[in-house]
């Protein structure tokens, strides 16, 4: 089993965008941590099917800072990408997938947060999440669980 990397990276080009989401008062991630913006960018990228390889790697978060929840999400994304549980044997690969989705998602995230045309971001976010929640019947318990 390959050793897992000690940090997750973003592309140097995207650093400004990540920082903006952390530093702008209007941003929902204002004064949050790097990992918060990374994970959110990653899940946004995953939702939109946007995955981009990194050109210039820039260390962004330490792996050890990730919570159990965040790790589970990252692993799930990787597993579903590969459709194989074995991908967990290659944590480098797992992290790479996460980084690439984060890269793909950051632009989407930034645009979504700062665009004014469809109302305030929190309201849009709430509507989207409820839509998805209802749409996938997430409130009901399935036999498997």
């Amino acid at each position: 089993m390959k050793k897992k990397p000690d940090r997750l990276c973003v592309d140097k080009e995207d650093l400004a965008d990540f920082r903006m989401l952390l530093e702008e008062k209007d941003s929902p991630l204002y004064k949050r941590e790097n990992k918060d913006v990374f994970v959110m960018a990653m899940t946004t990228g995953y939702k939109n099917g946007a995955r981009l390889p990194l050109k210039t790697r820039e260390g962004f978060i330490r792996e050890e800072y990730l919570s159990v929840e965040e790790r589970s999400i990252i692993k799930s994304i990787a597993i579903q990408q590969d459709k194989n549980l074995s991908i967990l044997l290659d944590m480098e690969k797992v992290c790479q997938i996460a980084e690439e989705y984060a890269r793909g998602g950051i632009k989407y995230l930034k645009d979504s947060v700062f665009q004014k045309s469809h109302g305030a971001y929190p309201k849009r976010l709430e509507a989207e999440l409820l839509d998805e929640f209802e749409g996938h019947h997430m409130a009901s318990i399935s036999k498997d669980e």
Binding site: E69, S72, I73, S76, L85, S86
Partner: protein
Amino acid sequence: MRFKSIRMKNYRQYKEVEIPLYSRGNDLPVTVIEGAMGTGKTNLLNAITWCLYGKEEHLSIRDRGLPIINNIVLSEMKGLQSDTVEVKLTVEYEDGKTEIFQRRQDVTKPKGDNPLIFGRSELKVFIKDKKDRDWHVSEDPEFRVDRVLPHDIQEYFLFDGERLDKYFAGEHRRGLKKEVFEVSQLDFFEKVIDHLEKMNTNYQKELENINPKADEIKQKLDRRKVELQREKEEREKIELKLNEAKALEEQLLDEVKKLPISGEKIEELKGQKDKFERRLKSLEDEIAKLNQEKLIYLVDYSKLITTYQCMKNTKEMISTKVEKGEIPPEFKKGFIEKILEKGICICGTDVTEGQHRQAVQRLLEQCDELDEISQELIREDHNLLMLLEKVRRFKVGLERISRDIVNRERDYELTSTRLKEIETQIFGIDDEKVKNAERRYKATKREIESFADAIGMKKQSIKDLTNLISDLEKAYYNEVKKIEKHDSVKCKLEFSRDCVNVSKDIMVEVMEEIRKAIEERTKDQFLKTIWKKETYKDVRIDDDYNISVLDQNGMEAIGTLSAGERQFLALSFVNALHMVSGFKTPIVIDTPLGRISGVPKLNLARGLTSFLEGKQLVLLVTDQEYNPEVRAAMGKSVGQEYRIKFIETENGSKAEVASYEEKT
């Protein structure tokens, strides 16, 4: 005594009018003269006062601007022509004596547009005793007027009914005691006392320089008397100020009552406004905080919801493996590799080669790569279960936060509305003006209290000085007794002192008797005839002639009397005064029923006639006052009835008086 008739020539509206006010054949004491407003009714009253005193005491604002001479006569006068204004009042006495009071004034119209020239008005009094045939002219007409009705008290006999309640108003109250004194004609007796005191002073002067001790006491006595006089004068001044302050207090209270809102209420509203503003701020902060909390909630959930299916699928994959028994593996790959490496099984069998080794190798081949991460997968299975559970609770949690926000926002709306209501109440109110008005009112009240206190102190000081003077006088007379000579002067001195003291005692007693008599009579009249018999229990008049009306609970009710009731009280008081005064002079009332309507009006009309007791009563009424019901109520006492007819011509106007029954 009766007013027999009044004759007016060229006097205001009355060009040539004679009104019999009483006839021997008809002994009923009431004469009614009815006239609409502006026809000259009140000028009949003015004619009487002008005749007796040379003054028109009740002149209207309009008439003040017009000359006393009738305008038709004036218009007919040419340049430098004169004519005379004349009023004659004939008075008849029980003993058959008749007096005619005649006042005349010449008026000359100058040439051109120059103002009229008024001569001095002249009063003459013609007297005829019963047995006389001829009239003789009084040498002292003013004295004769004084015998009929002294000017100082005429307003208790010839008055405007609508202004009767000035008796209870501040300015008038001050003089009431003094006026009762005058109506009672105790001034004669006061003259006796005054003369005696002067004689006393003269005798004291004669005894000066004889007994030094007596002189010393006398000097002290004189100083104290001066001091007493000063205290009395100061008290009067303070009483004047007190009455002015009371009048101002009434006016300020009126202003305060008209204020849209009280100062206290303004402060209360301001307090509420501040409270609501603070509450709004606090709610704003809470709403902002909750919105932030909600955003964090959504942001945290977004990653879970977005990857829900992903996590669910992953869990399913793991669960399938678990169900199939693939994880956890029966044995670990590492364990098998170790066996092969060591070449010996845990059972001790040699597995370095041969079929045992092959068997172990086959086991190794069966091992899944997942074996290495099976523990991890089992952990992930559990983690994912927790995460999916968490997602399930998303909506409940969101609803809870949203509800909190909605509640706060509703609270904010309500508070905002309430704040707007308060701001509307406060808007446009000049709270400085309100506060100033209230401040002035309170300051005036305090001033009144301090004046009342000062008067109290003066009263005490006057009492103390009076006692001191009395002691000094006793001491003085004791010293005087020791003087061996001048017995005659001593005797006169003592005697005159005794007379003064007795007179003063009698004066006080009689004044008290009069006060009680007036009080009793006023109460009797008022309670007997007032229409609300159950409401009022007592009427009191104190030493200063302040009148109180007590209700059934013994509480002061004078402030709650209606206009009609006050008028009635005033009439009762006037009647009591007449009884005491002994004056037989008739009463003339202008508009006695003007302020009252309905049943009280009828009661008052009936009550008026009970005031008479042998006196003549002349009533000057409007057509509205003297309606058929009132006429019927008074019918039994009315001897003469007249109506004033007002006639306008191109040269001016005049009033004529005709019998009431004549067609107009």
